[in-house]
């Protein structure tokens, strides 16, 4: 979603994006002229008249589970957005019985919060696990 009109979205997809993504962009490109939606989400910059680089993860119940906002010069890390979505999906699937520790990747160990784990996280998890693949 940007403040650009849907006409500009169409031309940008046709003239540039489809050269980077075969077949063009598969998902909706939304138009937020006057930044009403961006303002509500706290990412519209009225001085510049554009949206800053915010992204929001919204779960199937419509709840915001996470968001990240960057100033324009730095691009997002999409792999991180996908990692977070997978983590939230795991938490949701286990109904909160499992939580994902720092640096979690699909397949890596999760934590099972409970009274037995209090003061004993060090027995099941160490900081190296956050960084190795």
């Amino acid at each position: 979603m940007s403040v650009d009109s849907m006409f500009v979205h169409k031309m940008w997809d046709e003239t540039e994006l489809s050269k980077m993504v075969p077949g063009g962009i598969p998902f909706p490109m939304l138009s937020d002229a006057a930044g009403r939606v961006g303002s509500t989400y706290g990412v519209y910059d009225p001085e510049a008249g554009v949206e800053t680089r915010g992204r929001f993860i919204i779960d199937p119940d419509g709840i915001i589970q996470g968001y990240e906002v960057l100033t324009p010069p730095v691009g997002r890390n999409v792999a991180e957005s996908l990692r977070q979505i997978r983590a939230f999906q795991l938490v949701r699937k286990t109904k909160g019985k499992e939580a994902t520790p720092s640096g979690w990747q699909p397949g890596k160990p999760t934590l099972k919060p409970g009274i037995d784990l209090v003061g004993k996280v060090w027995e099941v998890w160490n900081t190296d696990m956050a960084f190795k693949d």
Partner: protein
């Protein structure tokens, strides 16, 4: 899922956010004071409708149409820019 938009040379009205006053819906909410809905983590994402483009079609999109799905809503400064 999204409704096809009837477009003309007139610029589209743009997006609408649930509960936020715009010039066109002021009459409907005369008695309500204008409130700024701010988002909060762990709370419901404010619903909105916005025009857009997808796969060769102009459509109207409503966030609440995507209930029961995971949504990644991405804002960015501008088309034809660099990052």
């Amino acid at each position: 899922m999204a409704k096809e938009l009837d477009i003309s040379c007139a610029r589209p009205v743009g997006s609408e956010v649930e509960g936020v006053l715009t010039d066109s819906n002021t009459k409907k909410h005369e008695s309500k004071k204008e409130e700024k809905t701010m988002i909060m983590i762990g709370r419901e994402a404010p619903d909105f409708t916005a025009p857009g483009y997808q796969n060769g079609n102009f459509l109207n999109f409503k966030l609440s149409d995507y209930r029961d799905k995971w949504v990644l809503l991405c804002f960015y400064p501008g088309d034809f820019t660099f990052v």
